[in-house]
Every structure is written in C-alpha cells, then in structure tokens.
C-alpha cells in the first residue's frame, strides 16, 4: 500500500493504534447490541470494515488494519460489497453512512501495491472494471448512502464518494479531495472521468483530473463536490479528533435519514453562471470545441511526454454511462496506461518521495527547538521562512541592517502571499512571523540547538562564521552549512567539534523547492544527521542524505551536463534551440535558461572547482565563455542579462544579442553524426545519468531512490523518466552505454560510461529497482 514500509518505531505506534481501534470496535459493538440488531458473526470475520445499525441507518466504518491510511484494496473492496449487499437486502435499513474511523484519512486511493503487482494490462483492466461495477451499484442504490469524509479522499476514494448520494466533509486542513491519478501516469479508472464533469462541471473536473490538484473542503462545498461541511471540534470529554469523527457520523446519520425520508434532496442550487456554462456545454459543438482547446493546451504543456492527460480527455468524451459494457473501453485504457514506462516511472517517484519523507536515522537525542540562520540572503531568509511557519523559533542574523531588513521582508512576503491566497489567516501569519527574531549579533546563540549558515560561497567566510558561531553555541548545537559545492569536510577543518558539522543544501527558492540534500562527512555523527533530517522533515522537505565530496550529488550531476551545454552552444546551437530541445525532452527549464537562473558566476565557480577535482570527465565546453560573460556583466537573471535579456514585467524574454560576439569568438565545429537533435538531447542526459550512477558506484549515494529523488526534485530531471536510475532501468542500460560509447568516440573520456553502468549493460537482469 501507499508507503507502508514503516520503521520499527512506527510499527510500534501502529500496533498501539490498532489496539485502540480494537477497543473502539468493542465499544461500538456493545453499543449496537444494546441498541439494535447486529450480525456479530459477519463482523468478526471482517478486518477493514465494521458495520452496525442505528435506527434504520446502517453505519459502515472503514479502518484498514496495520496502516496509517485506508486504501481500496481487494479485501476492502470485497468486504464493502458484502456489507452493501446486506444493507440492500435488509428490510430494516433505509439508508447508510459510509465513514472512516482512521484519523486524517477517508480513503487515500487505490492500493498501489495491488496495481504494481499486476503484470499485464488485462489484470489492471479487471480491477478497474470490478471497481466500476461496485460504484455503479452504489450510484444506483435506492437506499441513499452518505459519504462522511474526514481526511484525505483521493483517487479511488473520491470515486467512491462521488458514487454516493450525498457527501459531508469536515472542514479540516487534512480533508482534501482530489484525483491525483494523473500524477502517477494513470487515469481515474472507476468513474470519476464520467461522474466528476456531471457533478462539478467540465472545466472544474478537467482542472482536478489533469492537474491532480487537491481540493480543500470549503472549496469542494462551493464547487458542489460535497453537500455539507462539518467544522472540526475542539476538546470536550474526549480527544478532539475522536469526537470530530463521532460528530461527523452523527450529522451524517441525520442527513441519511432525511434523504431516506425525502426531507432532503441531494440536488444543489446552481448559480446563474454555472447554469449558463452547463447549458453551453450541453451543445455538442461547444463541448467539442472546449475539449479540443483543452487537448491543445495539454499537448503543448506535456510535449507528448505524458500519455495520461490526453487519455483522460479522451475517456471523458465517452457518453455518460448507462451500461456496464460502456465501462470497458475506459477500463482498457486504464490498464494500458498502468503498463506504460511513464506510469512506472511516476509511481517509482511517488514511492521514492514517500521514502525520502522518513527519518531513517531515528529520532535525534535532542529535538531542535531554537534554530539560528546566519545570513539573511535569498537562501537564509528562505530557510528561515520554512522554519518559522512550522513553529520553529528562528534567529536570523546578518551583518548589516539593510541586508537583515531585506531578509525579514522576504519572510514576511512569503507568509503574506499565503494570506492573499487564503491558505493562512493574517493572525496565523503574525503568529508565525513572531517566531522570527532578526539581529546583527550572536545574542541568544547560546540557546541554539542548530545553526544553519547561508553566507556567501566563500570558504574563508564560511570558516570565519563557523569559528564565530562555535565561540558562543552550546556543545550539543549542530552547525549546518548551506552550500552547493564547497566540501563540508573542508569547512569542518576549522571546527572544534567536526562531529557536529553537516551540510544542508537547500534549493532556491527554498519555500518552493521540495528537496533538501544533506551531506555527511566521515566525522559527522549519526545523531547530528538524525537532527538535520528531523529539522528538514519539519520544514516539509523531501530529503536525500549523501556523502561529502566535491559537488556532493546534485551539483556533481548537473556540472558535466552544464559543460556539455556550453559545448553545444559553442557548436553553434542557439540558446533558444537548446532550450526547446531540453524542455521537449522533459526538463521543466531549458538548459540555457537554467544557466541564467543559477547565475553565470556561480556556474563558473562550480565548474572550475569541480573541473579541478574531476579533470577530463568534466571537460567539454570552454569555461572561457562563462568568463567572458562575467566580464561583460552578463550574470544571468540577477543582473538582467545572460543568454537572455530580463526585464521587469516583460513576459517573453528576448535573446541577448551582445552574446553573439562571445559565441562567435568561441565557435567550434560540430560533428554532424553526433549533432542531430536527438543526439544533442542524449549528450546532455547521458552525461547526467552517467555521473549519477558513478555517485552510486562511489558510495556518495546510498540508494538509487535518493539519486532519482535528488535529480527530479532538485534539478528538474524529467519526471516522466523517473530519475536517472529509473531511466536506466526502463530505457535499458545497454542503449545508454551504446550512446555513451558513440559520443566517447567523437569527444573523448567525458563520455566514458562508468563501471556500474557497464555492469548493468552486460547483465540485463541487473536492475536498480527490483
């Protein structure tokens, strides 16, 4: 199931919660026996569903054992069917409530393990059909069924909910409704493609299904996705979460009864705009035009790399289904999508992301309560922002008042933007902002549990602040360095306590980029690592932990690719063409634009340093190009000019024509047999992939999973390929080695495939993911 490989301590807590659940069930049982009839024999055999009757309302409670979430597994499916058949056949029961007693989760979706264990598309098709049959029966139920939703209601969970006659959701932050299938490269296979447009209108349904965006309860109410909201409760005579679920159930029962008595109708009043839209969409011509528009837009955005969104549009065109037979084409498409490389890559990323959201180093001895950030620049302020909004007390220190003020303003703006988007109230913003203390001195550092320095990338400066900080911080305090390339071991050389020094490489902009790369030296203690991972997780990051070395993992993978970028530019491929080649391969940002974004000076600094370390493997383009750009002040976006010209408020960026002379002066002949569009793409990607695999070979990376997560979440490696390691597994190591050999013959050693990759090519059974 979704993220079930739990650490031992989590299993322990799970056992506890299972015990609690059993207790609850016993209590519920006794309640029912007193109150009304019950079928205890059936109850005892069921593990996912517990069901009882209140008056004439059946209350069906879902709670899958040994799991943090409920997923639509085969067992749950069959138990649900069994229970519903009892409900339908019982003369005493007139309506039903469907609720989860698991905190924070209604049903999180289909059981991914179930999907992954299928080896043929037919098996997947079968699963989809079973689910559709069940939901169709549910939809046609003459006894109204109310879905009482608390927590995540995603994918198959949402499809189940929208097959019910009525939906009541708690207005909790954890209550999210959505169809995230597209993010896994599949489509909603159990009816959402047909029912959602009917329920919320075509535009909103497409928005949900094509973006996978989660909808919060209050918005869902406005859209007509849920019929009633229930406010989460505070403390009473039992824990708030427990009572809230009970209350939700009580409210749902009154509505179920009202529906059965026909005192409530499930129909919703639609606004004028909504009525007009749905009228317009009922005209076939208009509808087709809209589908066409949406399809065009999706094609443009996915560049043909992701089959799922287009298929979603396709199957939505099927008529609203009356017969089971109509479901077949939909199920077949679902089955086919589940077998695609893209889907396997995306599902792999999902699993990897789940793994990288856990602390495999265990809980730190001392939880960080007081954080201090040195340097209020873009990175420092970003780190402060993602800390204070999680309730971490944070000192932000800089050396001058204007620099500090700029950083404080950045934090405030970051929080205030959320107020504007209504994800925070102004009061919550103020409370969060009060966790930030801006200062110019080291006052209060004696109470810090962790210091993260984010000063300029200059070893001497880093040494200075480390020494200054160590003079005041307590013994247990962790010193973390935010750097993209300076080896942590070198920074730690001046430390009195190198076991407490660690690297925390954040990505810019910190509040948007999910990745955190944590770098451990040979001297870094396990507890220091545990502490850094713990802080990172609290900041909401996806974390990879790598060994120290020049460029660590992420920067090291990117640099040879950047070297190739320069080479390709020197060979006369223009920045625009290069950008389009890289984005059409699946990178979110074009290669030339990426240099501008990173900053030409930073790129050169890194390339120089790593070039020294790694020699000819990082050869390719001439650093002279970057040097000349720097001397002309073309530092990229931050200076307004790089390969492109950046102007405030101008959307379409133009090429910087002053670059022409630089490019001309460094021009190199291209070799036609390795310069086709496809070759250019593969020259870039294979160098990236080769370096990533070398990192695993050398032990910089501990697992391929971290390599994939780091590449996709930190560097924008095409998600449809699943990261370098998934890419090798799915595309075939041999093909990549062949490519590399071809380019090696043309250019030299920078393309020599590493041993681990060659091993994989020589043995087709060898996979990074088994």
């Amino acid at each position: 199931r979704v993220g079930h490989d739990l650490a031992p301590e989590q299993q322990a807590t799970n056992r506890n919660s299972v015990l609690k659940i059993i207790n609850c069930e016993i209590r519920f049982l006794t309640g029912y026996i007193c109150r009304s009839f019950t079928r205890s024999s059936a109850l005892l055999t069921r593990t996912h569903i517990n069901y009882g009757v209140r008056g004439d309302v059946a209350v069906i409670r879902i709670n899958s054992p040994n799991s943090k979430v409920n997923t639509l597994s085969q067992e749950l499916h069959s138990e649900f069917m069994e229970v519903m058949n009892e409900v339908w056949s019982s003369s005493q029961i007139r309506s039903a409530v469907l609720i989860s007693t698991k905190p924070g989760c209604f049903i999180a979706g289909a059981d991914l393990n179930m999907l992954n264990s299928c080896t043929t598309s037919q098996e997947v098709t079968q699963i989809s059909q079973e689910a559709q049959k069940m939901f169709e029966k549910l939809e046609k139920s003459t006894k109204p069924v109310v879905a009482a939703i608390n927590g995540s209601c995603l994918g198959g969970g949402l499809e189940l909910a929208i097959s019910c006659q009525y939906r009541i959701a708690t207005k909790d932050k954890k209550t999210v409704l959505g169809s995230p299938e597209v993010l896994l490269g599949i489509l909603p296979g159990a009816g959402a493609t047909q029912r959602l447009p009917k329920m919320v209108g075509i535009p909103a349904a497409f928005d949900m299904m094509l973006t996978g965006r989660g909808i919060r309860a209050d918005r869902a109410k406005k859209m007509g996705l849920v019929d009633q909201l229930v406010e989460p409760l505070g403390p009473g005579v039992k824990p708030p979460e427990e009572r809230t679920i009970e209350y939700l159930e009580e409210v749902a029962i009154t509505f179920a009864k009202g529906l059965a008595d026909k005192k409530i109708t499930p129909k919703r009043d639609k606004g004028l705009v909504e009525k007009l839209t749905s009228y317009a969409l009922s005209i076939p011509f208009v509808r087709q035009q809209i589908y066409k528009k949406v399809e065009e837009k999706v094609r443009k955005q996915t560049k043909g790399l992701y089959p799922a969104p287009l298929k979603i549009i396709d199957v939505s065109l099927y008529p609203i289904l009356q017969h089971l037979s109509c479901f077949f084409p939909l199920s077949r498409t679902f089955g086919e999508l589940a077998m695609t490389k893209e889907s396997k890559a995306l599902m792999g990323l999902y699993r990897g992301q789940t793994q990288c959201k856990k602390n495999k180093f265990g809980a730190p001895q001392k939880e960080v309560k007081q954080l201090a950030v040195l340097g209020a620049g873009l990175m420092g302020a970003g780190i402060a922002q993602v800390s204070v909004d999680k309730g971490l007390q944070t000192i932000l220190k800089d050396t001058t008042l204007p620099a500090l003020g700029r950083g404080q303003q950045q934090v405030f703006k970051g929080l205030n933007d959320k107020v504007k988007k209504k994800t925070l109230t102004s009061f919550e913003r103020d409370a969060m902002f009060s966790n930030l203390i801006g200062q110019l001195d080291y006052r209060g550092f004696e109470k810090a549990d962790m210091v993260i320095e984010a000063v300029f990338e200059d070893l001497n400066l880093k040494h200075r602040v480390l020494k200054e900080a160590e003079a005041v911080i307590p013994d247990h305090c962790v010193f973390a360095s935010n750097t993209s390339a300076l080896p942590i071991g070198e920074i730690a050389t001046v430390s009195k306590r190198p076991e407490k020094v660690i690297g925390m490489h954040y990505f810019s902009p910190v509040d948007k980029m999910q990745l955190l790369e944590i770098i451990t030296t040979e001297k870094t203690s396990k507890d220091t690592t545990a502490s850094a991972v713990d802080v990172g997780l609290r900041q909401g990051k996806v974390i990879i932990v790598v060994k120290d070395g020049p460029g660590f993992y992420t920067t090291r993978c990117l640099t040879p690719m950047m070297s190739e970028v320069i080479r390709i530019l020197q060979e006369g491929v223009g920045p625009k063409k290069l950008d389009s080649l890289t984005t059409s391969f699946g990178f979110p940002v074009g290669a030339a634009t990426l240099v501008d974004e990173v900053g030409v000076d930073v790129a050169k600094h890194v390339a120089e340093n790593l070039g020294k370390e790694f020699g000819e493997r990082f050869a390719g383009g001439s650093l002279e190009m970057l040097q000349q750009m720097i001397s002309k002040g073309f530092l990229g976006r931050k200076s307004g000019k790089g390969f492109y010209i950046y102007q405030e408020g101008v959307k379409n960026k133009n090429l910087n024509s002053d670059m022409d002379s630089i490019l001309a002066s460094l021009k190199m002949p291209s070799q036609p047999d390795v310069s086709s569009d496809e070759d250019i793409q593969y020259r870039l990607v294979t160098r990236f992939v080769n370096e990533a695999i070398l990192c695993l070979q050398e032990g910089v990376l501990a697992t391929p999973t971290e390599g994939d997560i780091g590449a996709v979440f930190g560097l924008g490696f095409p998600p449809c390929l699943g990261g370098p390691f998934h890419f090798v597994d799915l595309y075939g190591a041999q093909k990549i080695v062949d490519r590399l050999r071809k380019y090696e013959a043309a250019y030299g050693k920078q393309f020599t495939p590493c041993q681990l990759l060659v091993d994989h090519a020589n043995n087709p059974n060898k996979k990074f993911y088994q």
Binding site: R54, G55, Q228, E231, L233, G234, P235, G236, V237, K238, P239, P240, R243, E246, Y247, E250, V251, I253, T254, F255, K257, G258, D261, K263, I264, T425, F427
Partner: protein
C-alpha cells in the same frame, strides 16, 4: 464578545418561521444521542429554587473558612448596585447614545445610595463596542450625571467581562490605598454601532484634507472608486480566528455532545427562573428609567418563557442547517447599563452605610480562543476557589454568565470531566459540578439580557442580593469573554 453580533438583523427570537423538516431531523438526532436524558431530567425535576434557602443556611454552618478577610489588607465592600432595565436592542433605548444609558445607571446609583457626589474618588466603566464620539464613556456619563468635574473617570474594555474589569480595577485602587470610594459600572448600546467608511475611503478623505492645491485635490478625487463606499462594520467575529462566537459555541456544544434539546431546556429554565424572579420582585437592582420622549422603562423586556415545542421550531442560527445553537438558546443583543458603589469597609461604615457584600478573591484566565473560547469559567472557578481556600461546597450562590445554553452546559460538563481536567487544565481530577439548585436561580444572561459591558456588575449584584435573600455566605461569579478569556470572583455576604 458578542454572542449574536453576526445576526444583527434578528428580531424576537421565536417569531422565526419553523422549519419542520429540520426539526424532525434534529429531534431524531437528539433522541439517539447518548446521555441526553440525564441532563434533561435534572433540569426538569429540579424544583424552582424553593428549598435552597434552607440548604444554604445549613451549609453556612460548615464552611472551610469563616470569612475571607485577610490580615493587613483592607476589606472592600459593595455598598449597593443598580442597573437600568436590560432591553432587547432596537426597542425603547434605540435612539439613545451609550453615555445616556450609563448616565441613567449612575443617576440611579446616586439616588439609591444617596452618596454625596464629591466623596467619589474615581469612576470606571466597562464597554465593548465603543461609540467613537465618547470613547471615554465613563467620563462623559459622569459629567452628564452630575458628578463632580473633579472626579476622574476612565473606561476599560475586556469583552464580556469589561465591567468585571471595572470592578476589580476599583478593588485594586482601594486595596492599594489610592482611593476609598469608587463607582464601577458598564454600558452597552447595541441599538447603534459605529459603522465606518471603508479604509480606502477614509484614506482618501484624510489625503484630501492634507491636499493644498486644487490640482492635488482633483488628482486624489480621480482615484475614487465606487467600492470605496462599501461600509465597514465592527468586528462580528473573533479577530484571531475569524469565527463568530455563536459558531464557536455551536462547535463547543458539539464537542461536549450537548444536544439541542438539552440547550433548549436550559434556556427555558433560565427564562422561567427570570420570570419568577421578576414577578416576585427579586430583581431589586433594576431602577426605572424615563427615556426622553418615551415611557418610563421599569423592567427587562427579554424574559419570555416559551415552550420546548416552540423553541424546537427554530432553525439553527450559526451552523446551518444542522447546528444546535438557535436564537432561543442564545443570549440576545441587549442595551443596558449597570453601576455599583465600591468602598473601603471602614469608609462605608464611617459614612453610615450597611454594605451588601464583600468583594474577595478574583481571577482572570485565558486559553485557546478557537476551541476553548467560552470555557473561561471552567478554568477560573477552581483557581479562584483555591486562592480563597474554599471548596465548591462552600459556595451558596453561583452566578455564571450565560452567553449560550450550550456554553453553560459545556462548562458544566468540562467541570465534571476528569479527562478534561487532566488533559487540558493540568489538574489531577475534575473541578466538580456546581449544584444546579444554587445556580443562576434568578435567571441569567439568556433571559435577562447581556449588554456586553454591563453584565459583570449584574452578576455581582445578583450574587449579593441572592446571598442576602437566601441566607448564604459565599457567592461565586464567573464569566467567559471573547478572546478566550475568563473571570471568576468570590462575593462574601456582609454580616447582617
């Protein structure tokens, strides 16, 4: 602060059209909720404050402490207190300004106590929604009521416990020897509230004021947009959480699993007891008020004992359509003012007064303004009892502010819960339940009305008058307030 502030448009609670569909649903829920009947029975079977006199007299024999007087600290007494009749907003007081009402209370107090005006050292009033023209309403009212212009006055605000704050400020001034005689009171006029221009409009008007040339003025005026004219109302919701108080009360009732039926029953109790007290002439703190241009108002007009059936017909007012808080089981928007005369005991005796009660230990508390907004009494009660060295059994008279039936019942359930005490109050065991036969026996805010700034003085006078009437010794006053704050105070009967 305002229980009903989100429903300013309300008229008389039970005149609303019943919605039969929802009621049947609700009654269904109620019948199926566990624990419903326990409370209901207690309310129904409880005799209406008849035998309490005897019980109280008996209890006073076995107090933990004979008196709460403390060595080396001045005894502080309430000589007497009055209030204007509390009226539903929009009725006879609707053309007045807040200081007019406050003036009526002050004049009433002067009349009742015959205190020489120049003896009063200080005047403090509580208020919540401030009239911008009289932001220090205490001073404006005092001048208008004929107090000496040499008597300073200030205004305090602390939501529904504003006049409690006025009284305890007076206690502080007297205990520290700064004053001997202080008038404390409170006022609220919900018939009129300050509705402002929008911030954009105000900014434009202020800029216009500063503009020197015609060109500047024109350029400012050119920025005018029609939406500048949309008005700004006083906050109807908790600032920190954006939740209205009625909404929070409904959630609180749900959190404690309090049914609609229980709430309606409690509200009916409040109205019935208030009616009885009114009919028997027990509400002696009320002074008649001749409203200019209207008839003399002599009594509260919000007391309306109804029937459970009638009350059950109302739709939920906040959480629609299935909530449990309705107009009938909430306190209503009220206009009114109150005032008490507080003195150092020796001063009162020297002036020949026979005081009504001592003001003893008091306590302010605060907690989470979202989920525990109205639980102040639960937190304040045990603290003030412990501070005074008393137990629940020592208290003869309980006067709790009734913002909502659900709020009172939630507080009672919280005080009766070990789980709540252990998990939220850091106590080993529950606070304990105030016996209902000693609880708000002459009605409460639900029935008498709740002018936010004036309720505290009413609670103290109700406690003092009940102690005299019923022969008890200790009274406990408690109230919740917006912002998640609360207050409790011990009132000790002055020996006869």
């Amino acid at each position: 602060m305002a229980p009903h502030s989100s429903t300013l448009a309300w008229k008389i609670p039970w005149t609303e059209e019943p919605d039969f569909r929802m009621i049947s649903l609700l009654t269904y829920t109620l019948k199926n909720l566990p624990n419903t009947s326990k409370w209901a029975l207690r309310f129904c079977m409880r005799p209406l404050s008849s035998s309490s006199q005897l019980q109280a007299a008996a209890a006073s024999q076995t107090k933990s402490k004979k008196t709460l007087a403390k060595p080396n600290i001045r005894n502080i007494v309430v000589v007497d207190g009055v209030r204007t009749p509390f009226l539903l907003s929009g009725t006879s007081y609707k053309d007045l300004m807040p200081h007019d009402l406050a003036r009526a209370a002050l004049s009433g107090l002067l009349h009742r106590t015959s205190v020489p005006k120049d003896v009063v050292d200080y005047i403090i009033f509580g208020t919540v929604i401030q009239e911008v023209k009289t932001s220090n309403v205490a001073r404006e009212a005092a001048l208008g009521a004929g107090f000496s212009d040499k008597t300073p006055a200030h205004t305090v605000t602390m939501a529904c416990i504003s006049s409690n704050q006025a009284m305890t400020t007076a206690v502080g001034l007297i205990a520290s020897g700064q004053c001997d005689v202080v008038v404390a009171g409170g006022v609220e006029l919900m018939s009129d509230i300050p509705i402002r221009h929008s911030r954009k409009m105000r900014k434009m008007m202020l800029d216009l004021n500063k503009a020197k040339t015609l060109a500047q003025r024109l350029s400012i005026i050119s920025k005018f947009r029609l939406n500048f004219l949309s008005p700004e109302l006083p906050a109807v919701s908790e600032f920190s959480t954006s939740e209205t108080m009625g909404h929070s009360a409904d959630r609180l009732a749900a959190a404690f699993a309090i049914s609609r039926e229980e709430q309606d029953e409690y509200a009916l109790r409040s109205h019935s007891l208030a009616k009885k007290a009114q009919d028997e002439g027990l509400l002696s703190d009320v002074v008649p008020f001749k409203v200019p241009g209207r008839d003399t108002v002599t009594q509260d007009n919000g007391i309306r004992p109804s029937s459970l059936d009638q009350m059950a017909k109302l739709k939920p007012a906040f959480i629609k359509p299935y909530g449990t808080v309705t107009a009938a089981n909430s306190s209503f928007l009220t206009d009114g003012a109150s005032a008490v005369l507080i003195m150092a005991e020796e001063k009162a005796l020297a002036m020949g007064y026979k005081p009504k009660a001592y003001l003893r230990d008091f306590m302010y508390v605060s907690q989470d303004p979202k989920d525990q907004l109205l639980l102040g009494p639960t937190y304040a009660t045990p603290k003030v009892l412990e501070k005074a060295g008393l137990t629940m059994n020592d208290i003869d008279v309980f006067e709790f502010h009734e913002a909502f039936s659900g709020q009172i019942l939630a507080n009672l359930k919280a005080m009766d819960s070990d789980w709540f005490a252990q998990n939220y109050m850091g106590r080993k065991a529950k606070v304990g339940l105030p016996p209902l036969e000693k609880f708000n026996n002459w009605g409460g805010s639900l029935s008498l009305g709740h002018p936010f700034g004036a309720t505290g003085c009413r609670l103290v006078m109700a406690a003092a008058n009940r102690l005299r009437k019923e022969g008890g010794q200790y009274g406990l006053v408690a109230a919740c307030a917006a912002g998640g704050q609360g207050h409790a105070m011990i009132v000790e009967a002055y020996p006869k």
